[in-house]
Every structure is written in structure tokens, then in C-alpha cells.
């Protein structure tokens, strides 16, 4: 099977969106489709066919959790791991995200130098 290439990233903050895309593309060499909202992520999801989805939790309009729930109707999430990025790092919040179907949680602020490596290991773990 092929390695990880396509990552769909939904993040409303353009700066973080840009830094994360740079880190993933420049360090990990992944192809990143950056969306500014949950709605946009839903629109792009089927066409882009991401292998991994990176979702910001707090987004205006439709938050990460709702986006995840709607994505479930569009793509096979058993095969596409969803990773949340959040500034809320309380254990109970992390637990809740995992329970709702997240594969893993990356806490902001993240180390851009480690982001690609972290995503890679999550992807590897999800394959097993």
C-alpha cells in the first residue's frame, strides 16, 4: 500500500494554516489541501480524497466536532484517520475528542519541526 500523501487541513486561522502547511509540505513532503472552515472541508473532502484529515476544534460556524460528524457521511473514516488540533489541552477534553472518533490529538502550540514526524507516526499507527 502506498504511503501518506494527501492531507486535508481545516483551520480558520490563516497564519496557523500557513505555518502548518509549510511544515507538512516542506518537512514531510505531503500534499496539503488547506480549508478555512468546516464547510469548506466538507466540500473538498470527496474530491480531494484525503488519506488523513487534520481538524482544528474551534472554528466559527461549524466546529471540528460537527465537521467530523458530517465527514462520517461522506468518506470511510475507518480508513481515513482524523487528527484534531486544539489549544484546549485538558485531559478530559482530549479524552472526549478521542471518544468521538479522533485518531489522535495535537496540542497547540505545536513544534513545526516535529509536526510532520508526529503526523507520520500517527498515520503509521493507524495502518496497523
Amino acid at each position: 500500500m502506498s504511503g501518506l500523501q494527501r492531507i486535508l487541513h481545516a483551520e480558520d486561522d490563516p497564519s496557523i494554516q500557513a505555518v502548518a502547511r509549510l511544515a507538512l509540505e516542506m518537512i514531510g513532503g505531503y500534499q496539503v489541501l488547506a480549508c478555512s472552515s468546516g464547510h469548506e472541508a466538507l466540500q473538498q473532502a470527496v474530491g480531494f480524497a484525503p488519506q488523513l484529515i487534520l481538524l482544528d476544534v474551534m472554528m466559527p460556524g461549524m466546529d471540528g466536532l460537527e465537521t467530523l460528524a458530517r465527514l462520517r457521511a461522506l468518506i470511510d473514516l475507518d480508513r481515513v484517520p482524523v487528527v484534531f488540533m486544539t489549544a484546549k489541552a485538558q485531559p478530559e477534553e482530549v479524552e472526549q475528542l478521542l471518544r468521538l472518533g479522533a485518531c489522535d490529538v495535537i496540542v497547540k502550540p505545536f513544534d513545526p519541526m516535529q509536526l510532520a514526524a508526529r503526523i507520520s507516526s500517527i498515520w503509521e499507527a493507524s495502518r496497523r
Binding site: 496557523i16 505555518v19 511544515a23 518537512i27 497547540k108 513544534d111 513545526p112
Partner: protein, 802 residues
């Protein structure tokens, strides 16, 4: 022989006249008495004068004639039937039988036919002053004859003298009897009696008088009563007042007693008489005149009632009443009349300012001293006590002439008297002091009440039984209720008490007042009062209350409203939280961008930019850490940080801490070693424990000299384990030590920038350790490095984690 006219036969019914005659005879008490020479003189005289051999004084009773005196005859009596005298007393004044042998009434009389052979008999009757013939003085001869006129007259005169003698003896015996009666009366009297003649000389005294005055009877008889028994000065005083009353001069002698008595003004007066030994004898003396037939004073009876006993009793009463603080009294009241005081003790001076000697029974002076505002109530209370015969009790004011207004308390018990009046026995005491204390107490209580009601804090107190005793205005306002008799276990429900969360009902045993009542000291306990659906957050302080004897008398709590403070705190927390999150988002992108640049992801960096970019990167990381710490502190303060406590073996956690912080330490040129760790387990949130260890280890590394060693170790002390981080830095300055665990405290302001810390690490560590049941501290001697440590309760490792 024929019987005399008078019925002499005992079978015959005696006439009424004869019965009276017999009674008169008996009254003289002469029958069967011994011979008396004085009477024998009369019979001898009669015999000689009449020239007869026999003469008799003969008395006739119902059955015989008995001879009181006999001359010339041996027999002492003869039967009445044969007696000549019975005939004589039935007849006229003089009775004569010239020859009995020729007289048909006597010729057969045994006294005529036999011894003493009477032929002649003549007699004069013994006639009592009331006309009864008791018997005769008679002369008898054994030959016939007649008395001449002279002899007859002599016999009559002699018989009258005999009768006079009888009469005199009767009077003497009657007098003796009366004298004995008088003496018995005198000696039986309850008073000492002195009888005087008109001039005051003592004629008789009774036994009590000899006893009372100490004189034998002989020593007093004949002496003037006033000069021997009376003190001259008291006589003079009395003479003066009596003289003034009578309007004429009275000599200070016996006349003092006699004058009033004589004028039919017998008086009873207290005197202090003189005992023989010079002492005073208090008596109540009455003087009565003894009048003769012409209403002339023949003498006086002085009757002295001994007052010593009564005085002793009064003295005792006086001594007792003198001990009583206040005025003892008797008060007497009769319907339709003014009341009176038959008795008041000397305390009347103390209470009403009256001299006890000047007090009259009248109630008016007393009433006038009662405070005008209290008079009506006083009169009313006495009326009620009289009507219902209930004890009288009243506190009222008295206007004392010297002391001013006094508060007094009166108590008395009424007794209904046989005549329907009421007599109280009671006591009036001065309670001014107590009243003043009470007024002061009232004043203080009033002040306390005002103070309590003016407080913005709620104050609630209860007695030792849990009865609510204080519930100030604020408390009423907050609860929407006043103090009600609700048992303590129902307080939470009744007064809407909840936990600090504002919804969970407070368990009764957690109610602060209840805890204080059980002896606990309550400090800053938070709870809520839910009234009208809104929770009021309060901070409660409370204490048990004790009486002076050390017994718990209740409890008190003070509730301070912290609702507004909590709201502001919440706003602040929201603000901090919001600001932190808002800061973090841009900071994330800055840090990440700088990370990518400094990580050469975007290609090489010109050398002259390298240093500035590194500084920017490092400081953006520090800023992130600062925000993280701020958020942690905020969570800790808000109680929102959750601790997942689990029992974990300690050694692996220390190893992990060493490994995770080794990189950081080495970047500061230091090295971490784990020297020792006992195989114990601790109950901690592993993540938070790591956070504490990271803080301590990174601090130690930052302050280590180049090549310095940071030693991590753990040592067990009983049921606790102490984890220590020791560095070889310059130690902690003495002046800084008290502030080590304060927020944003660093040894000097420049440290923050130089050492790259946030100034929150140790404050956060302290909170975290304490939340996990531990303690944090440090040891430091300047120049010998610093040792930060914390202790946690430890368990045997086989206890295992949860």
C-alpha cells in the same frame, strides 16, 4: 311531856323558816368546835349572876341541842326532842320555867325525872342580825325558883354579847377568806402587783413583784412606791408632761401616778423602773385607784407587766432585721380604709429615708415617697394581691430624700385575717445597683442589636440546644426569613442552604453553625443561600460560645457575602482565559514560523540574521510557556484543574523525569543524575507530578554552573517520601527565601530574562504538590547550592495502582 310548838320531829317536814334558821346557824361554823375560855366566861358570869349551878350556851340544829359552853354540866349535847332550848327558841325573847315538875310540857322529861333533875330553867335567845334564833344562853337549877328583873336583864344582855361575839368571828373568818383570796389573786397575777395606800406607801406586793424588783416583801412594805421603784428623772419628765396636760403643777412623786388615776383617767404607760441592783426594769404599768364606799381613793394598785421578755424578743427581731438588706414590713389593709404599716424594720431609713422612731403606721408618707410615675401601678398591684391573695411583687422607684431616686423591689405574702382584712408580711430591697447593671446590660444589648442590624454581614447564633437566638437584619434579608424554632437538622431545608456550587443541598452536619455548635472553629467555609432562586455565595466564620464556667453556651456564625467577589473573579478568570487563548493563537503561528525558519526548513539564513531570529524564537517559546503557566494558575485557582489520582510506583516516574529533562539540562551545561529512590508507590496524577519535577529540574539546571550536577533523589521518612532536587548553584539569597513560592517571584528582576523562566513555575508546583496531599519546601545555604524537595504520602509498592 308534850313536844314544843316548833316541829322537832325529824320525820316532820321542817318549815321554810326553820330551814333558813338552820342555814344561818351553819354559816357561823360554831357547831362541834372546841371549848373556848372566852365563851366559858359568859356561862360562868350568867350562873353567878343568876345564882344557878348550871349555865349553858346551847345551839339547836335539826336533831339536837349542842353546848358550845357549859358550866356545871358534863354532857355536851342532848336530843332536840327533850331539849328545853327547842321550846325556848320557838317562843319569845325570854323563856322561864319556874318548876318543870309541875309543867305539863316537861314533867315527864328525862332531864327532869333523871339527871340532872331540872326544876328551874330560864333562857335568853341568841338572835342573829337577820332575826334567826340560833340557840340560847340559859341558866338551870335543881330547885324551883324565879329570876328577878335584874337577873333577867343581865341574862338578855349576856346573850346579846355572845351573839355579837359569834358575829365578830363570822366576820373575821370571812375577812381571812377574802384576804386569802386576794393574796391568791395577787400571787396568781401575770403582772407584778404593788398595792399602796393613798399616800403611795406600799401595803402589799405579790410574789412576782418581789422577783421583778429584787426586794423582799419586808423591804418594800411601808415605803413610798415612787421613791423606791422609780427613777427620779423619769418621774420629773412625766410630772412635767402630765402637769401640762392637767393644767396644774404635779409634784414629781407618787402624785404622778395618783393624779391621773384619781381623776378616773387610768392609764397604761411604759416605764423603766429600778431593780434593787440598779438595773432598769422595763414595764407596762397600769395604775388603778381603790375606792372606798364614799368613792374616796383608799389606795392604788400598781400593776407592772414585765416588758423585758418582749424587749428581748424585739431585740432579737431587731438584730435579725438589721441583717436583712432592706425593709421588713407588715402591711395591713381593710376594705374601704387606708392601709397601714403595723411594723417596719430599721431598713425604712435605707429605703424611704424615714427615721424608724418617727415612722407612724400611716401609709401616706410612704406613698408620697414613691415615684409619681409608679404610684398608680403600686396601688393597683396591692389591690390585685389583696383581691386574689397572690404574692405581691413589684419593682418601682422611691424618691429617697438623700440618695435620690432608688429602684426597689417589693415582695410580700398576703394573709386573709378573720375580720376580712388582709395582712402582708414582706420585704422591700434596694435594687438600684442591680437595676443600673440591668439598664447598662439593656443598653449594651440594644447597642449590640443595633450593631448587628447595621452590619452588612449576616450574624446568626444559637443556644446550646440549637435554638436560634440571634438573626440580624442582614440574615433575615438573605434568608427571607426570621429566626424560627426549627431543629438544627432542618436548617438546610428551611433556610435554603446549599454547598458552594449553589445547587447541592447542604447536609445538616455540614452547616457551619451546626459544626460550631459541635465545638468546631469555622474559618472561611464557603456555602450558598438560595433565596428566590438565586444563590448568594457566602464565606462563613464561626465559633462555639462558652459561658464563664467553661460550658458551651451556643455558637455563632458570621456570613460574609462574596457573591460579587465571585462574580468579579469569574469575570477575571474568563478574561484571563480569553486573553490567553487569543494570545496563544497568533503566538502559535509566530513560534511555529520562527521554528521553521530557525530549523532551516525555508533554507539557509543569512549569518547576520541568525542571532536575532534565535532570540525571537526563544522568546516566543517563553511567551507560550508563560501563557501555559498563567492558564494553569488560573485553573488551579478556580479549582478547575482535575487531578487523576492513581497509585503509581515512584522510581519509574523519577526515571522518566530525568530522561525528559536531560536535554534541557544539557542545553544549560548541566547533567541530571538519579541517585536513589526507595521502591514505594505514591498516589498522584502522573502528568502533574511530571510537571512539578520538570519545574524543579529545569530550575536546578538553569541555576547550575557550567558542568554542574543536578541530583534527583528520594528518601522515605515513615509514611512519607521526600523527593529532592539538589543543584550546585549559588543557592538562594536569604532575602528572597520568604518569596520563593510566590507568583512572579524571582531572585532578582533580571533573572526572568536571563534565565528564561516565567516566574510561575514554583508557585504552580506548590499548588500541585499540595493538591496531591503533599508539602513543598527548600533548603539552601548560600554557596552550597539549593535543594528543593517535596514530600508525598507513600504506600507499599505492592498496593499497586488503580
Amino acid at each position: 311531856m308534850s313536844p314544843p310548838q316548833a316541829p322537832t320531829d325529824p320525820q316532820d317536814e321542817p318549815s321554810t323558816r326553820e330551814l333558813s334558821r338552820l342555814a344561818a346557824l351553819l354559816r357561823y361554823e360554831i357547831l362541834d368546835t372546841p371549848d373556848e375560855p372566852v365563851l366559858d366566861d359568859f356561862t360562868q358570869l350568867a350562873a353567878r349572876f343568876c345564882d344557878t349551878p348550871i349555865s349553858l350556851i346551847s345551839l339547836v340544829d335539826d336533831r339536837r341541842q349542842w353546848f358550845k359552853s357549859r358550866h356545871g354540866l358534863d354532857v355536851s349535847e342532848t336530843p332536840r326532842q327533850i331539849s328545853f332550848c327547842a321550846h325556848a327558841i320557838a317562843g319569845d325573847d325570854f323563856f322561864e320555867i319556874p318548876d318543870a315538875s309541875l309543867d305539863p310540857r316537861f314533867k315527864d322529861n328525862p332531864l327532869v325525872t333523871g339527871e340532872p333533875h331540872i326544876r328551874f330553867y330560864a333562857s335568853a335567845p341568841l338572835v342573829s342580825p337577820d332575826g334567826y334564833k340560833l340557840g340560847t344562853l340559859c341558866v338551870i337549877d335543881r330547885k324551883p325558883r324565879l329570876l328577878d328583873l335584874e337577873q333577867r336583864d343581865a341574862l338578855k344582855r349576856l346573850s346579846r354579847q355572845v351573839m355579837r361575839l359569834f358575829e365578830e368571828r363570822l366576820l373575821t373568818s370571812q375577812y381571812a377568806e377574802q384576804a386569802a383570796l386576794h393574796q391568791a389573786l395577787l400571787d396568781g397575777a401575770a403582772s407584778a402587783v404593788v398595792v399602796t395606800r393613798a399616800d403611795g406607801r406600799i401595803s402589799r406586793i405579790n410574789a412576782l413583784a418581789t422577783e421583778l424588783f429584787g426586794y423582799p416583801e419586808d423591804a418594800l412594805l411601808g415605803r413610798v412606791a415612787t421613791s423606791v421603784l422609780f427613777a427620779p428623772d423619769s418621774l420629773e419628765r412625766r410630772a412635767a408632761t402630765l402637769g401640762a396636760e392637767l393644767g396644774r403643777a404635779i409634784a414629781p412623786g407618787f402624785e404622778v401616778l395618783a393624779a391621773a388615776a384619781r381623776e378616773d383617767r387610768p392609764e397604761i404607760r411604759e416605764w423603766r423602773l429600778r431593780h434593787r441592783d440598779g438595773s432598769e426594769v422595763p414595764v407596762l404599768l397600769s395604775v388603778l385607784p381603790i375606792h372606798d364606799e364614799r368613792q374616796q381613793a383608799r389606795g392604788y394598785i400598781l400593776s407592772a407587766y414585765d416588758l423585758a421578755l418582749q424587749e428581748n424578743l424585739q431585740l432579737r427581731l431587731h438584730r435579725i432585721t438589721a441583717q436583712v438588706p432592706g425593709m421588713l414590713f407588715q402591711y395591713h389593709w381593710r376594705r374601704g380604709a387606708l392601709g397601714a404599716f403595723p411594723y417596719v424594720s430599721e431598713g425604712v431609713q435605707q429605703i424611704y429615708g424615714f427615721n424608724v422612731a418617727d415612722v407612724t403606721p400611716s401609709v401616706e408618707p410612704f406613698l408620697n415617697r414613691v415615684h409619681p410615675e409608679d404610684r398608680a401601678a403600686l396601688v393597683q398591684s396591692i389591690r390585685e394581691s389583696a383581691a386574689q391573695l397572690l404574692p405581691w411583687h413589684l419593682e418601682h422607684r422611691v424618691m429617697h430624700p438623700e440618695k435620690g431616686v432608688l429602684w426597689v423591689e417589693g415582695r410580700a405574702t398576703p394573709l386573709r385575717q378573720p375580720d376580712g382584712s388582709v395582712l402582708w408580711h414582706g420585704l422591700v430591697t434596694d435594687i438600684s445597683e442591680r437595676k443600673a447593671e440591668q439598664l447598662e446590660l439593656d443598653r449594651q444589648q440594644e447597642m449590640n442589636r443595633r450593631l448587628l442590624d447595621a452590619l452588612s454581614e449576616a450574624v446568626v447564633a444559637c443556644d446550646e440546644h440549637g435554638k436560634l437566638t440571634v438573626f440580624n437584619n442582614t440574615a433575615r434579608l438573605w434568608h427571607g426569613l426570621d429566626a424560627h424554632p426549627v431543629p438544627p437538622e432542618r436548617w438546610p431545608e428551611f433556610y435554603h442552604l446549599c454547598e458552594a456550587d449553589g445547587v447541592t443541598p447542604l447536609a445538616p452536619e455540614r452547616v457551619p453553625l451546626m459544626r460550631a455548635l459541635r465545638g468546631e472553629r469555622i474559618r472561611d467555609v464557603e456555602m450558598t443561600i438560595v433565596y428566590n432562586g438565586r444563590p448568594r455565595h457566602v464565606l462563613v466564620n464561626g465559633d462555639p460560645m462558652f459561658s464563664s464556667d467553661g460550658k458551651q453556651s451556643g455558637a455563632v456564625v458570621v456570613l460574609h457575602d462574596i457573591t460579587e467577589r465571585k462574580r468579579i473573579e469569574q469575570l477575571q478568570r474568563d478574561f484571563v482565559s480569553t486573553v490567553s487563548h487569543e494570545l496563544r493563537t497568533p503566538l502559535t503561528s509566530i513560534t511555529a514560523s520562527l521554528g521553521l525558519i530557525c530549523g532551516r526548513v525555508m533554507g539557509d539564513i543569512p549569518e547576520h540574521l541568525q542571532e536575532l531570529l534565535d532570540i525571537s524564537h526563544l522568546n516566543s517559546i517563553r511567551l507560550s510557556a508563560l501563557i501555559d503557566d498563567l492558564l494553569d494558575i488560573d485553573k488551579l485557582n478556580a479549582g478547575k484543574m482535575r487531578f487523576e489520582l492513581a497509585r503509581e510506583p515512584l522510581p519509574p516516574m523519577l526515571e522518566q523525569a530525568m530522561r525528559s529533562n536531560q536535554g534541557y539540562a544539557e542545553s544549560h551545561g548541566a547533567h541530571i543524575t538519579l541517585s536513589e529512590c526507595p521502591p514505594v508507590a505514591v498516589e498522584v496524577d502522573a502528568m502533574r507530578l511530571q510537571q512539578v519535577l520538570s519545574n524543579l529540574l529545569s530550575n536546578a539546571a538553569k541555576f547550575s554552573p557550567a558542568g554542574g550536577e543536578v541530583t534527583l533523589s528520594a528518601k522515605r521518612h515513615g509514611d512519607r517520601v521526600r523527593i529532592s532536587v539538589h543543584d550546585q548553584g549559588k543557592g538562594i539569597a536569604r532575602t528572597f527565601r520568604p518569596r520563593v513560592f510566590q507568583k512572579f517571584a524571582q531572585a532578582d528582576a533580571s533573572d526572568t530574562r536571563q534565565q528564561g523562566g516565567t516566574g510561575l513555575g514554583l508557585a504552580i508546583s506548590k499548588e500541585l504538590v499540595e493538591r496531591m496531599g503533599g508539602q513543598i519546601g527548600f533548603d539552601s545555604e548560600p554557596g552550597k547550592g539549593a535543594c528543593f524537595w517535596f514530600e508525598l504520602p507513600c504506600h507499599e509498592p505492592n498496593g499497586g495502582g488503580r
